[in-house]
Amino acid sequence: MSKIKVIPCSGVGKVLGLLARESVLKVTQEQLPNDTETLCLAHVVTGDDEVVKKIVGARCITMDGCPKYCAKKSVEAAGGEVEYSYKVPDFIKPHRGEDHGTGTYLTEDGWKFVDELAEIMVKTANEMQEEVI
């Protein structure tokens, strides 16, 4: 069975994009490397043949940094099935007042938030796997 695609926006302007990127890398590289993988969003948006083949009809989770939903929209436009679309600001309320860092580096609080976002995606990916079984 093909791996679930987990794709962040990796927005470069603010910390929200870095939080999205780091949380997806944690899921795909550390927590569920056998069940999930990420794809290069730049390849997705430019319609790279190899990536389009992988994404058409694939089950996807997206994590965006802002309400413009670039990852979700781009994956859908390329033919991916976005079953779960998240955005970092949806989970930020309990973290109000914390300094998460910048678009370059995260603070300790930023990394804690990354861990929390990753857990949300791990839970989602596990549920998606169970639906198939």
Binding site: C9, G17, K26, T38, L39, L41, A42, T46, D48
Partner: protein
């Protein structure tokens, strides 16, 4: 002091080290090397944007910083806006093997990776400064 801004757009690719480096180079230009003189935006927003974003490269001379030889940022800017003023292929500077290595969390950056960022950023500055004096 020159009052014009120059766009620097990275691919921020998620599948290889070159993408991580492209992203860090853009941030280094913004924060350390040419603060106040750089404008940037997310590549997916540039492509998915409602039009305003696509005028970016018409408004600013723009340098594309790509992590691999597919040059997504350069191709996208030229397709949707106008010709780039300069371009960087990280793989050409640090080598294919290094650039196509595993994508890296900023938590795991080593001195070697930071040296790559500096090397690519220095090259980007050369292009940046050449555009400024034109």
């Amino acid at each position: 002091m020159v009052d014009k801004k120059i766009g620097v757009v990275g691919c921020s690719g998620e599948e290889c080290l070159g993408g991580t480096i492209s992203r860090l180079v853009v941030r280094k230009m913004l924060e350390e090397l040419r603060p106040g003189m750089v404008s940037t935006l997310c590549l997916p927003l540039f492509i998915a944007g409602d039009g305003g974003e696509r005028e970016f490269a018409e408004k600013y001379p723009t340098i594309a910083v790509d992590g691999c030889s597919k040059c997504c940022a350069k191709r996208a800017i030229e397709k949707y806006s106008s010709a780039v003023a300069g371009s960087i292929d990280v793989a050409e500077i640090i080598g294919q093997d290094a650039a196509l290595g595993k994508p890296l969390s900023t938590r795991n950056l080593t001195e070697e990776h930071l040296a790559y960022v500096k090397e690519v950023a220095d090259k980007t500055c050369e292009i940046f400064d050449a555009i400024l004096v034109k």
